[in-house]
């Protein structure tokens, strides 16, 4: 999923400052799962903002709507009336969701209410961890299914640096050394020989380095 985290209230208060009628638009997919932008978070944030505005004698009307997915026009359209009735949209979707709203409603100011952090999973309840950078050229087969591009702090492809200690990364004791994980896993799979191979420089053209990406599926173009 795409993991996000709600922005601090003072920062949100600053961005909504010019508006008296605000729509908080939630998204019922990824950001709901990571407790950042689903229906519950929309309600909580709306209450918090109403209270904060009251304390500052700021007049505001807040409408709350959550759509199934903010990155798909089909769902966004359900919120079309609400968008038009308000002066601005505070979107609790990921950056893609925010920009999908922007594309559909060119005249409405759209403000981000969350920081999109990464593509990841929920490791344990309430703990989210990054697993993928969307590099566009997946090498997981070589690395026993553990991504060094994402999970090694130095993106090393040819083995661990000298900073791997007791399974932890030199950057922080809270970070597992991806290479320790890869080696352990390849040992289990009996594929340790994978690691003797020289991995040539990565082709980053498929990543964001190659410029903003576009995927064209001819078979789906109508």
């Amino acid at each position: 999923m795409i993991v996000g985290e709600q922005k601090p209230i003072p920062e949100i208060m600053k961005t909504i400052e010019p508006y008296k009628k605000l729509l908080i638009l939630g998204c019922g997919t990824c950001v709901k799962t990571c407790f950042a932008g689903g229906e519950d978070e929309v309600a909580t944030l709306a209450s918090a903002l109403r209270l904060a505005c009251k304390q500052q004698d700021k007049e505001i009307q807040i409408q709350e709507v959550t759509v199934e997915r903010q990155c798909e026009n089909e769902f966004i359209k359900e919120a079309a009336n609400a968008v038009k009735e308000n002066e601005a949209v505070l979107s609790l979707a990921c950056g893609a969701g925010v920009q999908a709203i922007v594309r559909l409603f060119p005249k409405s100011p759209v403000l981000p209410g969350i920081n999109t952090t990464f593509i990841g999973i929920q490791e344990s309840h309430g703990v989210f961890i990054e697993e993928c950078q969307g590099c566009g050229n997946c090498g997981l087969a070589t690395f026993g299914g553990i991504c060094p591009v994402t999970r090694c702090s130095k993106k090393l492809l040819n083995g661990p640096c000298g900073g791997s200690k007791d399974g932890k990364c030199e950057v922080s004791k809270d970070i597992d050394c991806a290479w320790q994980l890869i080696i352990d896993r390849l040992k289990t799979l009996g594929q340790l020989d994978n690691l003797k191979k020289y991995i040539p420089p990565k082709n980053w053209r498929t990543s964001i380095s190659g410029g903003p990406r576009k995927l064209i599926r001819e078979d789906h173009i109508i």
Binding site: S153, K154, K155, L156, L157, N158, G159, P160, C161, G162, G163, S164, K165, D166, G167, E170, V171, C177, W179, Q180, I183, D184, L195, K196, Y198, I199, P200, P201, K202, W204
Partner: protein
Amino acid sequence: MSQSISKLHQILSTGEFAVTSECGPPRGANKNVILKKAELLKGKVHAVNVTDNQTAIVRMSSISACIHLLNTGLEPVMQMVVRDRNRIALQSDILGAYSHGIRNILCLSGDHQTFGSQPDALNVFDIDSMNLIRTVKDMRDEGKDMSGFALDDPPRMFIGAAANPFADPFDYRVIRLGKKINAGADFIQTQCIYNIDRFKAWMHMAQEEGLTEKVYILGGVTPLKSAAMAKYMKNKVAGMDVPDALIQRMSSVPKEKASEEGINICIETIQQLREIKGVHGVHIMAIEWEEKVAEIVRGAGLIK
């Protein structure tokens, strides 16, 4: 490589026990800092490593500090990390370095930028240290850059790499050494050795794999200044293995004698290293303590 590429290469290929040291460039543009360190090291060592923004702190560039050393007649080993430059910049700087007469390079990953003074920086890591080794080798042996373009006057560098026998996973460390040799490493400088038993175990594994025949290994040593430094190295410095016995030994002498004891330990370590088959030299990293290198070299009976 029938002809020697550098003085360091020549020393190692003739079987002489090589001695290298280190020079950290200043946090400023004052070249006199380099010249002063050069003065302390001249005639004491065969070559001097010049660090590349070590611990991710902005310093005078390795390449320019190397040039200052060359001008004093010292042979530099240019350290190059892949943290700050992409493949285009790395190759370009290798060409530039060679054009100035730099003949040794040490290919490294580099300390993560979060350790340094500017942790907000974006890192690069376009290629890894293994790829850098191969790149320098291909430039030298094939005469080509990474795109396959035939270079006009290809740089011929004596290629070094680092190895840390003390990092985990231990049994992978020798595989990684083998990979570095296959990628093109001619010499290896190791992380500081305090745990000589673990170093011996690593060397033994390397020997069994036939690796010590394929590469020159220089054991790394860093003299301890105090018991506090020993503890700091053990607990705070990534990839360091300082046995408790050593910390106790440093603590057991009066404070004013601690640095002397540190030098003694360093000299003893060098003497032990000389006895290990497959060790071709020593790399003395006297961090901001260059004035002690001469004493260590003399004490260990290295260069007359």
